[in-house]
């Protein structure tokens, strides 16, 4: 663990959500996450900024302790600073060692074996010195604390995780998109079904219409009962879950359905055993075994 510095001043530290140059397939405004390595050295991934005030506090502490006295450093990316020494190296590991020292502040510590810099590709922290005329249009400010010595304000820029920046991690807002997307697909499927049914009845010759008989009819009835039983025992409880209709979960419906399925299977088996084709198979099998 790197030696902690005494913090005399608490500089103002703002946590900024650095907006990346996004590609066409990347999110323009992804959430920010930060991994906090607690005293147990267990990395804790906090929810995105803005969703939890706890995370904002932690991040602020991180920035306060980490960058006090290191304001003059040049901007450095995580990978560049891997080869540097001191605290910048620690910041590249994007981890925070929370310790209850007298300052009571979080300090950045070397992560060691916990996370190697080459493997940290979904979490990046970058140290950027304070700049005058910082454009807030290009940077979203999430939180800030302190309020001392504004000239020496270092900025902790927490980049979004790489997966989040690519939009591969679904947020709550995306769930609404999924629902609408599925409704569109279901509508297209329904239209396709109507279209095909109408076309088949129009195209098929009139003399091709037949009733299902024998084994085909039994198989179809078994399929209908099986699907009905499955839907009844799984979907209906789900549909009525919020209304308190728990009776269908009791197993009675499922039991009756399985009784019906078994009886249908029994009838199907009886029909198959009396089918001349099956009888022929039995004869051929017995002849082959005798020979």
């Amino acid at each position: 663990m790197a030696p902690r510095r005494a913090v005399n001043k608490i500089p103002e530290v703002s946590l900024r959500h650095r907006r990346r140059r996004n590609g066409p397939g990347e999110s323009s405004d992804p959430p920010v996450s930060l991994s906090v390595l607690a005293g147990t050295r267990a990395p804790v991934q906090a929810p995105p900024l803005g969703e939890s005030s706890i995370l904002s506090g932690s991040c602020s502490r991180l920035g306060t302790d980490t960058y006090s006295g290191s304001e003059s450093r040049t901007p450095s990316t995580a990978r560049k600073s891997k080869h540097s020494s001191g605290k910048m190296k620690n910041t590249t590991t994007a981890a925070v060692d929370y310790s209850s020292d007298d300052s009571g502040l979080l300090s950045v510590s070397e992560l060691g074996e916990e996370i190697d810099i080459d493997t940290v590709d979904n979490m990046e922290m970058r140290a950027v010195p304070a700049r005058t005329g910082f454009s807030t249009e290009k940077h979203d400010c999430n939180s800030s604390i302190g309020g001392m010595n504004a000239d020496k304000i270092p900025e902790v820029v927490i980049a979004p995780t790489r997966l989040e920046s690519k939009g591969q991690l679904m947020s709550d807002d995306d769930l609404d998109s999924v629902g609408q997307f599925i409704i569109k697909g279901a509508a297209v499927g329904f239209i396709l079904w109507i279209f095909l049914m109408a076309n088949i009845y129009l195209i098929a010759p009139a003399d091709s219409y037949e009733y299902l008989t024998g084994t085909e009819k039994q198989a179809t009835w078994t399929l209908i009962i099986l699907l009905f039983a499955t839907n009844t025992t799984r979907i209906i409880p789900l549909a009525f879950q919020k209304n308190g209709f728990q009776f269908s979960k009791s197993g009675l419906v499922g039991t009756f359905m399985w009784e019906a399925i078994c009886s249908e299977l029994k009838r199907l088996l009886f029909l198959c055993t009396h089918n001349p084709n099956f009888t022929q198979l039995e004869v051929s099998l017995s002849n082959s075994s005798l020979s």
Binding site: E164, G185, W193, L196, I200, Y211, T222, L223, I224, R234
Partner: protein, 246 residues
């Protein structure tokens, strides 16, 4: 609904002039939208919602248009089966068969791409777990959710792949069986393809439904999602509390 119609009312049944197979056109009218919808749902579970990648990279990027294309391919592949009775020559019959299988083969590509995506996300999750611990999940809630969704999507597409390959294989094999088997044997029975297809359809639908409900619990159930998020918050608070108490 369609099965009930086919049992109660007369439905068009045509004979394939090349293979001699009895083809129930109603089943293909049901299977095509069903294949479309099941593929669409499978893809929609885990997509990159912010991707606007062009079509050449869409399959690799898992962008939303992949769901439309893949589902469309599956539906077209199924519709090809309904065209067999209308073919007049053997060459056209073989062309339709090859096109149908080529369109169907996209599901294997998607299965591989889904597997690669799951492996990638799982590796990302594993890197968040510190060594020498017994944790199985990282502490990034969104990443954990993404891994679970990716796993569910992979399971769904694997289910579809296995069941539908059996159905398509059954149809293809049964197209040749009447020509190869003896006329009085069971393998030459005109009902064999229908019965086996119905059984596989039942397995496919029932198993897919069970998995889809699990996906609902995983992805769309807001209460379950909130509970998991609270659990993550509890873990975070516990770690901070323990650290601050030392």
């Amino acid at each position: 609904m369609s099965n009930w119609i086919s049992v109660v009312f007369p439905t068009p049944v045509m004979i394939d002039p090349v293979s001699g197979l009895r083809i129930h056109l109603m089943r293909f009218a049901v299977w095509a939208p069903l294949a479309f919808l099941m593929t669409f749902l499978t893809e929609a579970v885990d997509l990159n919602w912010h991707s606007n990648a062009p079509l050449q990279q869409a399959f690799q990027a898992h962008s939303p248009q992949v769901a439309w294309w893949h589902a469309g391919f599956m539906a077209l592949s199924t519709i090809c089966g309904a065209l067999f009775p209308f073919t007049k020559s053997r060459i056209v019959w073989w062309e339709i068969m090859i096109i149908s299988w080529l369109l169907y083969a996209t599901i294997f590509i998607r299965l591989y791409q889904r597997y690669c995506r799951y492996r990638y996300l799982e590796q990302q999750q594993r890197r968040q777990i510190p060594k020498h611990t017994h944790q199985t999940r990282g502490h990034n809630f969104l990443l954990n959710e993404a891994v679970d969704r990716s796993r569910r999507s992979l399971q769904l597409i694997l289910t579809c792949c296995i069941c539908w390959t059996l159905i398509a294989g059954n149809f293809t094999v049964c197209s040749f069986l009447p020509n190869w088997a003896e006329k009085n044997s069971i393998w030459a029975s005109p009902e064999l393809s229908y019965v086996i297809g119905t059984g596989l359809e039942a397995i496919s639908k029932v198993y897919y439904l069970v998995m889809q409900l699990n996906v609902y619990d995983q992805v769309f159930d807001t209460s379950a999602r909130s509970a998991r998020r609270l659990e993550e918050m509890r873990t975070l608070m516990s770690a901070l509390w323990e650290a601050s108490s030392k």
